[in-house]
């Protein structure tokens, strides 16, 4: 009798343990697209897999265009795009959800009298059409252009917004936001660009077309040197439960802090 009881008790215990195991998820979330979103999506993916043990999270940095195509062809769960979807892409059955806004500040030395530039002026400066601060109501000094290395997400964003892709005549190409800020802070004639979140007091962020860059002006779209980070999904068809869970998590209030930590402004 005792033996049987032990057996029953034992098997019950085993069942409970098995049950405990079976709540562990084994799903997969695959994302594909924008290289600029690497940091944001990396932070979110890490936090998500830490909370949901057993889930595999993949990110394939191929570029916005390839990411959008990948969703359309069903090769990934969520596509990542660092631009808004075009009309024809939406008509082709894709939905965009803005995850965050990437604001890029145009920075100069604090002693520089210039306070405001238009988008056109910025483009002219970076393509070498305007070479002296005098032409921008500054002092008579050559403009020193500082930017990021080829392939950097910030550079890609800045150049695509200002329409200067592959036409910029950089004097210095530095490999981190911090280096750009340090270089601009050290040269009164320098101009540079950096992610808005990392701009400090050592440099002055210019207003663009009269709009001062801030979290609010980036969010409402009035500050133009910015671009959305978009999650692309198929309209009509449902995500897998795990992918949906990640999607909900990424767009939840809990993710706002993580997104801000990656240097961009959360859309929520």
């Amino acid at each position: 009798m005792k033996k049987i009881l032990t057996l029953i008790f034992g098997s019950l215990l085993a069942l409970v343990m098995l049950g405990g195991c079976s709540t562990q998820q084994t799903g997969k979330v695959s994302t594909d697209g924008s290289t600029s979103m690497e940091e944001v999506i990396g932070v979110l993916g890490e936090a998500f897999t830490a909370q949901n043990k057993g889930v595999t999270f993949t990110y394939n940095p191929t570029g916005s265009g390839s990411g959008i195509t990948a969703v359309k062809e069903g090769r990934c769960d969520i596509g990542l795009s660092s631009r808004s979807l075009k009309k024809e892409e939406k008509e082709a059955g894709l939905t965009e959800t803005v995850l965050a806004y990437d604001g890029i500040a145009v920075i100069v030395h604090p002693d520089n009298p210039v306070k405001d530039l238009t988008l056109k002026q910025i483009a002219a400066v970076y393509t070498g059409k305007i070479v002296n601060w005098k032409e921008l109501q500054g002092k008579d000094a050559p403009i020193v252009l500082i930017g990021r290395e080829a392939g950097s997400g910030t550079r890609d964003g800045f150049e695509s917004i200002t329409g200067t892709s592959n036409a910029c005549k950089y004097r210095q190409e530095l490999t981190s936001t911090g280096d750009v800020i340090a270089a601009v802070a050290a040269n009164p004639d320098a101009i540079g660009y950096a992610s808005l979140a990392s701009v400090k007091k050592t440099v002055k962020a210019l207003s663009v077309g009269g709009i001062v860059p801030s979290e609010a002006s980036v969010k409402d779209g009035s500050y133009v040197v910015q671009r959305p980070f978009v999650l692309v999904t198929k309209s009509g068809s449902k995500l897998s439960p795990t992918a949906q869970k990640f999607f909900d998590y990424a767009t939840s209030q809990a993710a706002v802090k993580l997104i801000a930590g990656a240097g961009v402004v959360a859309a929520k």
Partner: protein, 289 residues
């Protein structure tokens, strides 16, 4: 008892052999990997266009991969650093090894070791915050970042290797040589430069090799002060070295661009092999003569 000792000897020998082979394996692995992945892009771009091309635009719609500016910059930069760093390092070494009082020598040797221990990113940071603005105001150029700043940073960075190896070589000169020279009536200075230095020739050549190796292979510090524009080098212009060309773009690269970066690394590897081989040649020649 004897058998046991022998066994231990054999085991220890085997162990040492294994550890030695790890190094050999690493060198072989890196070499083979570099050659295999480096040749892909060279094949696609064409060796002549790659080595002699003057335009580098790796992410343009129609990319071009010419690395002549990087090659020239690396050569000029290292040569410039040797031009400044070698005399300073060499005379410091002679002073330390032969003329300096013991207390002074101890302090300076310690400081030189400290200099060797400073991480290259710190050199870069100091260069960026002090040297670059300094060059800008001193020479009245729009921006101080460029070849000159890189040369100055590199020349400081090679000092420890040049000094340490030269001092060791000079101290290894048998005292009898110097005693004989002094006994024949030569002054101490004559003795140092006519007897000690020629006797330590091969060690000093090794110091030069180390300096060149350090200079041509440094990436981090140079990346922060050289400006990194892919233009043909001149003293005040923004320049990109072979090392920085690889380091700057590797993180985000893909496709042919990434393969081309491996090819640059292969060229860099080739340059370092070349400088080592040349030095070996000179060293052997000096021994024979």
């Amino acid at each position: 008892m004897k058998k046991k000792t022998q066994l231990i000897e054999t085991v220890v020998h085997g162990l040492f052999l294994c550890l030695g082979l790890i190094t050999v394996a690493c060198v072989l692995l890196i070499t083979v990997y570099l050659i295999v992945s480096g040749l892909l892009a060279i094949k696609e771009i064409g060796l002549k266009e790659f080595i002699l091309g003057t335009k580098w635009a790796s992410t343009a719609a129609e990319p071009s991969f010419g690395i002549l500016p990087f090659i020239l910059t690396s050569i000029y930069g290292t040569a410039g650093a040797m031009l400044i760093g070698l005399p300073v390092g060499f005379f410091t070494a002679v002073y330390l090894a032969k003329a300096a009082p013991a207390a002074v020598k101890k302090v300076i040797i310690n400081l030189v070791s400290l200099l060797a221990g400073i991480p290259s990113v710190v050199y870069g940071l100091v260069g960026m915050l002090v040297l670059v603005p300094g060059i800008r105001t001193f020479f009245g150029v729009p921006d101080g970042a460029g070849l000159l700043a890189a040369i100055i940073v590199l020349s400081v960075m090679i000092l420890p290797s040049v000094i340490n190896v030269s001092v060791t070589a000079l101290e290894a000169v048998p005292k009898e040589y110097e005693d004989a020279s002094l006994a024949l009536g030569a002054t101490p200075t004559e003795t140092y430069f006519r007897v000690s230095v020629p006797a330590a020739k091969s060690g000093i050549a090794a110091a030069v090799a180390l300096g060149v190796g350090r200079g041509i292979g440094e990436a981090m510090a140079v990346m922060m002060v050289a400006g990194n524009a892919a233009d043909m080098p001149s003293l005040f212009a923004s320049v990109r070295f072979l090392t920085t060309a690889v380091a700057a773009e590797m993180a985000y690269s893909g496709g042919l661009q990434r393969q081309a970066l491996f090819s640059i690394a292969l060229v860099l590897f080739f340059f370092i092999m070349l400088s080592n081989a040349a030095l070996n040649f000179f060293l052997k020649g000096s021994k024979r003569g």
